[in-house]
């Protein structure tokens, strides 16, 4: 009986809360995206940890992310070796050691899907985001958490899940998962946007 009651109360609480949580989260996501959309220019430091299955240890790197609304995103890795990746509209330019080339995202989606996703989030375009991803947003007093799953099967093969978390209008962590189990976490520093 007690068990039942507990279950019931859980059930009632759940049903009751779920509606309001859903409405709240939609509104919170909307607010977050609106705030993100207002930021025209951003520059922040990052630390990236990549967990690659065939490697015994994670690879750690750090650098700087630069964003100019609506379509320009740069990721400059400074440690352990300089590397840069610049996304401008549908062209991605990569400099890695002696390698320096530009690719079309249309022809080589595997090269720039991550960058493209970051840009889409930073631009605060909720409609565009909904078109590309199934999303789930949770928020609480400790911050928020946005889970994105790509619709496009081609993209899904490259990144199976993106989890963003942050506080207020700030993104703190971005986690990218591949279907083969590899994943990477990008932690963003204090946002010095202006």
């Amino acid at each position: 009986m007690w068990r039942f009651q507990v279950t019931l109360s859980f059930f009632i609480t759940f049903v009751f809360l779920h509606g309001s949580v859903a409405a709240d989260s939609d509104k919170a996501l909307n607010d977050l995206m609106t705030q993100l959309a207002q930021s025209q220019h951003g520059r922040t430091r990052f630390i990236e940890k990549q967990f690659i299955r065939i490697l015994a240890r994670p690879i750690e790197s750090s650098g700087e992310l630069v964003y100019d609304a609506p379509s320009h995103l740069e990721k400059h890795t400074l440690q352990p070796r300089p590397e840069s990746i610049i996304l401008e509209r549908d062209t991605i330019s990569i400099t890695h050691g002696k390698f320096a080339r530009s690719f079309s995202l249309v022809a080589y989606p595997q090269v720039g899907v991550l960058m493209m996703s970051i840009r889409q989030i930073l631009s605060g375009d909720l409609i565009g985001l909904s078109r590309s991803f199934a999303h789930d947003f949770e928020s609480g007093i400790h911050g928020w958490r946005l889970t994105l799953i790509p619709h496009d099967p081609k993209v899904l093969h490259i990144v199976s899940r993106i989890v963003l978390s942050g506080i207020g209008s700030e993104i703190r962590d971005m986690e990218f998962e591949r279907d083969n189990g590899d994943y990477s976490v990008i932690s963003l520093g204090v946002n010095k946007s202006n």
Partner: protein
């Protein structure tokens, strides 16, 4: 009677023969008219490049209109269609297809292709640093791609091969295809199998592109209609050939009809008109036949020049018809033979003297003009002398010319009062020409280009958008075998790499990038350790790395396989884009038989000291090859062709001056009076000077065709001067109003013939027109002004 019949039959037979010859001749519109018959080594290489080099085979395709996505779809569809056509070696549009198909080849042959393959690379330390680097790559944006190959290729040789082979200066990409920098046009680059000088082959390729584009346009949905534009040397050659042919025909029809109408008004008889044109036709046919027999091939320029013969040859019959005033036939012939023909003959010989000097020119284009003019003038003269008198109607209406002439007789004294004023011409002209002496002559070959400026600008824009192919400086390696040339190419490449670091050049291509020499392939293979040695080294190398050897088993297998795989040859490249790349840079020559050439195009730096122009001397110093079977020549194509044109121009200038001297000598011999010679020469010289100054003030810088125009002015004007001279010496000037009328009518036909040319869109023809039309008019006026009146003599 018999002799008359004989002369007409001989003439008819010769004309038929000439027509047969003209019909069996090859006509060409390529650049070879402007290339010397006995070129230097550098010139021969230049000619080779212009006629069959990679640059000459490229067609730049530009799709405009609609939106970016529509253009991209059209670009992909067109590229797909054209790639299936055997007449194209390659069609690039920035799409992925090429990389996809080449990637397998690069991965498969990475141990032969990568220049990092050395013994040290497979030592413990070498493996360690190479694998560490690849691990970094896994973490980079390229990681997704790198991961696919990591187990097979942990030292990253595939990426190295990719870096070596695929050019870095790729054009701007959008929607997966190349796009112009102004983002309004999609760009494609097609390479034809046909040589650039094969105008028919180029024309076929161009029509195919246009045809496929129309089909694509109908199948691809776009917001707005698409427009296709083509450019490139082959496109220009086809355009030029069509324009010259089209214009030469159109303009000769136009000018002959205007001249015909004028003469019809004067003669009032169609028969007289037709007969009057016989010398022109004879001259044109004889000219072409003579060039065909002498050279075996007729240049388009020569043919275009044929139009101009109308100007002089039609004068002959005008002189005959209007000046011979006797009704009785034998008397008429007699006066023509004794009174007029010697003057016409001297005028003809004068013209021939002028043109004869062009014949020994080293440039086939000039030599052909000389031969054409001489043969044409002789034929026209002989026809006038021997055939026309027998054919001409008994009565030629001369009432109009005589009425006309009477007005001229009254005007003549007026002109004479000005003649002192004309002495100002040399003084003023001297001043103007001296002040502008630096801009007097155009010394660039492009001045002769029959390509409209708009097309040249489009071409320059496309080239700058596409980045690579505006190759101006090349290194040419010549050697006895492909292996020798490839080895030489490999020796030069490190020097070029350091030139890139010094920013002397932005990049280069080399045959050895596509196909390493056999020696290098063997050397690379020898540096691959045996299976057990590699396994041991690998084991020791990965100790400090976050990776286990068990994961790298495919690597050991692949290296072992590479140790026994066949070496790569040209045939092995078949089916990849590297095959086309290599064929453009490694060429088997027919002369000398079985020799090989390697071409290394250099790309100019975009900024700095050597921006947009490669310093050829600096390259020469940098690429010293050891003395051996292969030698290297650094060739600046633009400089070479401009030098070539400059020598062409100075050749023509010297020859023309020589021709002028020959004319003076001829006149001295036949007139036997220095005073008379001076009187003949001065009005002509003044006319040429005046036109020169006028063109200079109009900011037209003179080309070789203007020079030819001056020669023609003197040739035609000498007839006027000689007639005036004869009239003065016979002491019966003004009385002969028919004489003055014939000169003016002859001059009008010339001015019409060349005046029409002046409006041609082909610069070559326009230059002739704007020089000769005003030149001959002035020559006539000056001749009249300087003529002596009978009262004074």
């Amino acid at each position: 009677m018999l002799s008359r019949f004989l002369s007409v039959s001989i003439w008819a037979c010769l004309i038929v023969l000439a027509i047969v010859v003209a019909f069996h001749t090859r006509y060409t519109a390529d650049l070879s008219a402007f290339l010397p018959a006995t070129p230097s080594k550098a010139q021969r290489l230049l000619v080779n490049q212009l006629q069959e080099g990679l640059v000459s085979r490229l067609i730049l395709i530009d799709i405009e209109g609609s939106d970016a996505a529509g253009r991209a779809r059209a670009s992909n569809a067109l590229a797909l269609q054209l790639r299936e056509q055997a007449i194209f070696r390659s069609v690039e549009n920035g799409g992925a297809s090429r990389l996809e198909s080449d990637r397998d080849f690069l991965v498969k042959h990475r141990y032969s292709l990568s220049d990092q393959v050395t013994t040290e690379r497979f030592s413990v330390a070498g493996l360690r640093s190479a694998i560490a680097e690849s691990i970094d790559l896994l973490a980079s944006p390229l990681g997704q791609i790198a991961q696919e190959y990591f187990a097979r290729d942990p030292t990253g040789e595939s990426l190295q091969a990719f870096n070596q082979l695929i050019p870095q200066n790729q054009p701007h990409l959008r929607n997966g295809v190349w796009e112009s920098r102004d983002e309004r046009r999609a760009l494609l680059l097609a390479e034809t199998r046909a040589r650039g000088s094969d105008t028919d082959g180029q024309e076929q390729a161009i029509s195919l592109i246009r045809y496929e584009f129309l089909r694509v346009k109908n199948h691809v949905n776009t917001v707005f209609p698409l427009i296709l534009r083509l450019s490139g040397p082959g496109v220009f050659a086809v355009q030029a050939r069509n324009t010259i042919q089209h214009e030469a025909i159109r303009l000769s029809i136009l000018s002959s009809s205007v001249i015909a109408i004028l003469l019809l008004i004067i003669y009032r008889s169609i028969t007289t008109l037709v007969i009057g044109f016989l010398p022109v036709v004879s001259g044109a046919v004889a000219g072409v036949a003579a060039v065909a027999l002498g050279f075996g091939i007729v240049h388009g320029v020569t043919l275009g020049f044929g139009v101009t013969l109308i100007g002089e040859a039609v004068d002959y019959s005008v002189y005959l018809f209007i000046q011979s005033d006797r009704v009785e036939e034998h008397l008429r012939l007699l006066t023509w033979k004794e009174k007029f023909w010697p003057t016409v003959r001297l005028g003809m010989l004068t013209s021939i003297c002028g043109f004869a000097t062009l014949v020994p020119s080293a440039f086939p284009g000039l030599a052909q003009l000389g031969v054409y003019s001489i043969a044409g003038l002789i034929a026209a003269g002989l026809t006038t002398r021997f055939v026309l008198p027998s054919l001409m109607p008994k009565t030629v209406s001369r009432s109009l010319p005589i009425r006309f002439g009477k007005i001229l007789v009254r005007l003549l004294p007026l002109l004479r009062t000005w003649h002192k004023l004309l002495w100002l011409i040399p003084i003023l002209a001297g001043g103007v020409l001296y002040a502008h002496r630096s801009q007097l002559w155009n010394r660039e070959l492009s001045a002769l280009s029959p390509i409209p400026l708009a097309a040249q600008i489009l071409d320059a824009n496309l080239r700058s958008d596409l980045g690579t192919p505006d190759v101006r400086t090349i290194i040419v390696l010549s050697g006895p075998s492909s292996e020798a040339v490839l080895q030489a190419s490999e020796k030069i490449v490190p020097a070029l790499d350091s030139l890139i670091l010094e920013r002397a050049i932005a990049g280069y291509q080399a045959p050895s990038q596509y196909l390493p020499s056999l020696a290098t392939q063997q050397q690379r293979r020898a540096s691959l350790p045996t299976g057990s040695a590699l396994a041991t080294n690998l084991q020791n190398a990965v100790v400090t790395l976050p990776i286990l050897t068990t994961q790298l088993a495919p690597f050991l297998r692949d290296v072992e396989a590479a140790r026994t795989a066949p070496f790569i040859s040209r045939e092995g490249l078949e089916g990849t884009s590297m095959a086309a790349g290599l064929d453009a840079l490694l060429i088997r020559n027919n002369r000398p038989l079985d020799s090989w050439s390697g071409i290394l195009p250099l790309i100019a730096a975009r900024s700095g000291l050597n921006a947009y122009a490669v310093d050829a001397d600096r390259i020469r110093q940098a690429i010293v090859l050891p003395k051996g079977a292969v030698d290297a020549t650094v060739l600046d194509l633009k400089q070479q062709s401009d030098e070539l044109y400059a020598s062409y121009l100075s050749d023509a200038l010297h020859l023309s001056l020589l021709g002028f001297l020959a004319i003076v000598v001829l006149l001295l011999i036949s007139l036997r009076s220095l005073k008379r010679v001076v009187r003949v020469i001065i009005p002509l010289a003044f006319a040429v000077l005046t036109v020169m100054v006028a063109l200079n003030l109009l900011r037209v810088s003179l080309t070789i065709l203007h020079l030819i125009g001056f020669l023609l002015t003197i040739a035609i004007g000498s007839n006027y001067a000689l007639f005036f001279d004869r009239e003065a010496s016979l002491h019966e000037p003004e009385k002969n109003s028919a004489f003055l009328a014939s000169l003016l009518i002859a001059n009008l036909t010339t001015v019409i013939g060349f005046g029409v040319l002046a409006f041609s869109t082909v610069p070559v023809l326009a230059a002739l027109g704007m020089t000769v039309a005003p030149g001959t008019l002035l020559a006539l006026l000056f001749c009249a002004a300087f003529s002596e009146s009978s009262e004074r003599t």
